[in-house]
């Protein structure tokens, strides 16, 4: 990549050899209007908004996003002629379909509207045609309204290039061209994976989510960059909030890990959970949970748990807790309650020595998936695998897994007994990625460790911060000794993890449950301490690559709900021990 110089609007500016004219403008802060361009997706030059004048003697008009920048090029981006042509272009778009700003969910956040304002369009000259176009609201999370579509194709490119699913494409031609789902299916019945990338890239109100409409425009909201709490990938997210209420979860295109990609588990489901929130400490009196206060809660804690012998106490922590919280919890159980019995709610994890990064999946020519499911979580890893196979021609071998329907893309489908067949494939490949799930058997573990050092090794974790907890020294099976006192730091853990502890909880004398929502363990709890949920927490997580990422809170917890660490410090304080 060499440096080149262009003259844009009379000024000398610098760029690099592979840049388009638009890239050079963006690098130098020159504003060129765009519509079908989206950073991270290929450019098509369909909207004709980024037209620029190229050349001096013979001036050609071409789109900046598709024209390669050459050394010495003379470009004008802001002439009267260009702006006139752009204005007519926008007028044509406004007159094509049914753009009713007054009741549109995206009014105020619409790129088409912004451009119309920019070119001071105060009325539409061309008679409107009122084509009858459909609206597809069949999907659980997403609505597609063709009346507002400008056929820029960003959704198609996102579905194809980011999620590698290609559920969306065009059908028909000319003025009958439409965004098409599979073979003219509804979104609900389609192959859509509900990743939601289309929502984020759509410039108008044509594709939007069902939860956030009318709850606030961008200018009225706050945007917090953080990391998803739903699995150990740790995708970068951006939480959109207003008045302490979460409106929407966006993908963060600047995240090294996910580059803007999300899945339905991280983007939609957290907003669809309807669970009863604990707002105050609860004490079980005569078999019923009754509201209490912090005074009483800490008093009971000190009495009951503090009064037990260390060997009778056990601590269990959720992998959704931050590193700081887990660290403090360990210190509390070890140093304050003098117990060695501490484990993860989801049980111990398998770690195999080796280094790995998700980005390297796209550079691998051979990808081996062992025992990983992808139907519940880690869906972004599956998207990256599919992208590598479909776009980069990588070979895929599935062992004891169909990777949630990727079988038709695989070169080999093997059972774990046939692992030896993979050895030859590995020897012939250049870059190899091995991705393994969290329920693999001993001999599979041994086979993988053979290659651990040479390949791009990615082990999926059963919980969000499992690797962080492991590095903090918590990785044992919780042995079912009769722990008389059980302190469960569940935060906002899912029921299917908590289910496994119900039996232990039943056997204990006193169960302290520090949690955000009512769950399957609530019935066994003697003392419930309200805990912050994912959006209220700050700290950091360590993802399955070993990367530590910052978690930033986006909303403030209800007044009586305190930070987990604050609670633990005050318990220790009451006992008379110092906890830092």
């Amino acid at each position: 990549m060499a440096e080149i110089t262009l003259i844009i609007n009379g000024k000398k500016v610098k760029g690099e050899t592979e840049d388009t004219i638009l890239d050079v403008c963006e690098k130098n802060g020159i504003d060129v209007p765009t519509l079908c361009h989206f950073k991270g997706l290929t450019d098509v030059g369909a909207c004709r908004m980024c037209i620029v004048e190229i050349g001096e003697e013979r001036v050609a008009i071409n789109t900046a996003c598709t024209t390669q920048a050459l050394d010495g090029m003379v470009v004008k981006t802001d002439t009267e002629r260009l702006n006139n042509l752009r204005k007519i272009n926008i007028e044509l778009l406004l007159a094509e379909r049914n753009h009713f700003c007054m009741f549109c969910e995206m009014s105020g956040d619409c790129e088409l509207q912004d451009l119309a304002y920019r070119f001071k369009i105060d009325y539409i000259r061309y008679p409107l045609l009122f084509p009858k176009l459909p609206l597809d609201a069949s999907h659980k999370y997403i609505i597609i309204d063709h009346n507002r579509c400008i056929l820029c194709g960003r959704c198609i490119r996102a579905c194809d290039e980011l999620e590698a699913n290609h559920t969306l494409d065009f059908r028909e031609r000319g003025w009958q061209k439409m965004i098409n789902i599979d073979l003219n299916s509804t979104l609900r019945e389609s192959t859509c994976t509900s990743c939601g990338s289309c929502i984020q890239v759509c410039p108008t109100g044509a594709i939007f989510d069902k939860k956030s409409p009318y709850l606030g425009r961008s200018e009225e909201c706050e945007f917090t960059k953080t990391v998803c709490s739903e699995c150990s990938v740790g995708c970068g997210t951006e939480i959109v909030t207003r008045a302490n209420h979460i409106l929407r979860i966006n993908g963060n295109f600047d995240s090294d890990v996910s580059r803007g990609l999300l899945c339905d588990k991280g983007r939609f489901e957290p907003l669809y959970k309807e669970k009863k929130r604990y707002l105050k400490p609860m004490v079980r009196v005569n078999g019923e949970l009754k509201e209490s206060d912090w005074e009483e809660a800490t008093k009971i804690m000190v009495e009951k748990i503090g009064g037990m012998d260390g060997k009778d106490i056990a601590g269990l922590v959720s992998a959704r807790a931050t590193n700081e919280t887990i660290d403090l919890f360990k210190k509390l159980i070890n140093n304050v309650f003098c117990s060695e019995n501490i484990g993860m709610l989801h049980g111990p994890i398998t770690t195999i020595k080796g280094k790995g990064s998700l980005n390297k999946i796209l550079e691998s020519d051979l990808i081996i998936v062992v025992g990983a499911d992808f139907s519940k979580d880690h869906k972004v890893v599956r998207s990256l695998i599919k992208r590598a196979v479909v776009k980069n021609d990588s070979s895929l071998i599935l062992v004891n897994s169909n990777a949630n329907n990727l079988s038709s893309y695989a070169k080999l489908l093997l059972k774990k007994e046939e692992l030896e067949k993979v050895n030859e494939e590995i020897s012939m490949a250049n870059e190899v990625s091995i991705i393994f799930g969290y329920k693999i058997s001993g001999d599979v573990e041994k086979w993988i460790s053979k290659y651990g050092g040479e390949v791009n090794l990615i082990g999926l974790m059963p919980g969000t911060n499992s690797l962080g907890a492991y590095k903090l020294g918590i990785n044992r099976n919780f042995k079912p000794r009769k722990a008389r006192g059980l302190y469960i730091l569940a935060v906002d853990e899912d029921n299917d993890i908590l289910e496994n502890i119900i039996e232990e909880a039943k056997k204990s004398e006193f169960v302290v449950l520090q949690t955000s929502y009512e769950n399957v363990l609530s019935k066994e709890a003697d003392l419930i301490i309200p805990s912050m949920m994912w959006a209220e927490r700050s700290g950091n997580y360590t993802n399955m690559e070993g990367k530590t990422q910052e978690v930033n809170k986006s909303i403030t917890s209800p007044p009586e709900v305190k930070d987990d660490r604050e609670i633990m410090v005050s318990i220790a304080d009451k006992i008379g021990k110092f906890l830092s």
Binding site: C101, M102, Y123
Partner: protein, 180 residues
């Protein structure tokens, strides 16, 4: 100095634009130093005066023959015609009936409504006829100034009126230009 005469009228509309006009609150006192509001749905006079006005303001779109007449009358009697609000500019929300044939619309409104029994589509010489499609006022008259919005904000209306008072055609931009 002679005050600028203004007349307003509302057509196929919800009256929101006139409410927005009133929303300029106490600024109206300042405005009234330079402006005389002659006829309007809000004042006693219902038709523009015979000698005409300087600025005619139409809010609402053209949806029936009656409104066509009123729009033409306003155009004849004013020098500068202002289309106020989305409905006057391009038909606005009222455009939603353009997706259905006129007969279906009348049927739904007068016969099929759940609370109607033995409904009939009214027909009389005194009543206007629905146009086939709703449109902005520029379909039947020449418009000089467009103020989009649903409704246009009081600030936009105030700005436009002050510009007109100062003899300039207002150009809306920034916060004053919005379609919602």
């Amino acid at each position: 100095m002679t005050k600028i005469k203004i007349a307003t009228e509302w057509l196929e509309s919800c009256a929101g634009c006139h409410m927005s006009l009133l929303d300029i609150d106490e600024r109206i006192l300042e405005l009234l130093k330079y402006v005389e509001i002659t006829s309007s749905p809000l004042t006693d006079l219902k038709h523009p005066p015979e000698e005409g006005v300087d600025v005619g303001i139409l809010s609402g779109g053209i949806g029936n023959s009656d409104q066509e007449k009123k729009a033409k009358e306003m155009r004849k009697k004013c020098k500068i015609l202002v289309a106020l609000g989305d409905c006057a500019v391009f038909g606005g929300i009222c455009n939603l009936r353009n997706f259905f044939p006129k007969e279906e619309v009348l049927n739904r409104g007068f016969v099929e409504t759940e609370s109607t029994s033995k409904g009939k589509i009214p027909k009389s010489e005194v009543l206007g006829e629905l146009t086939d499609q709703v449109s902005g006022v520029n379909k039947v008259v020449k418009v000089d100034v467009y103020i989009p919005g649903c409704p246009p904000s009081a600030d936009s209306i105030y700005y436009a009126l002050t510009e007109l008072v100062n003899g300039r055609i207002p150009v809306l931009e920034g916060d004053l230009l919005h379609y919602d």
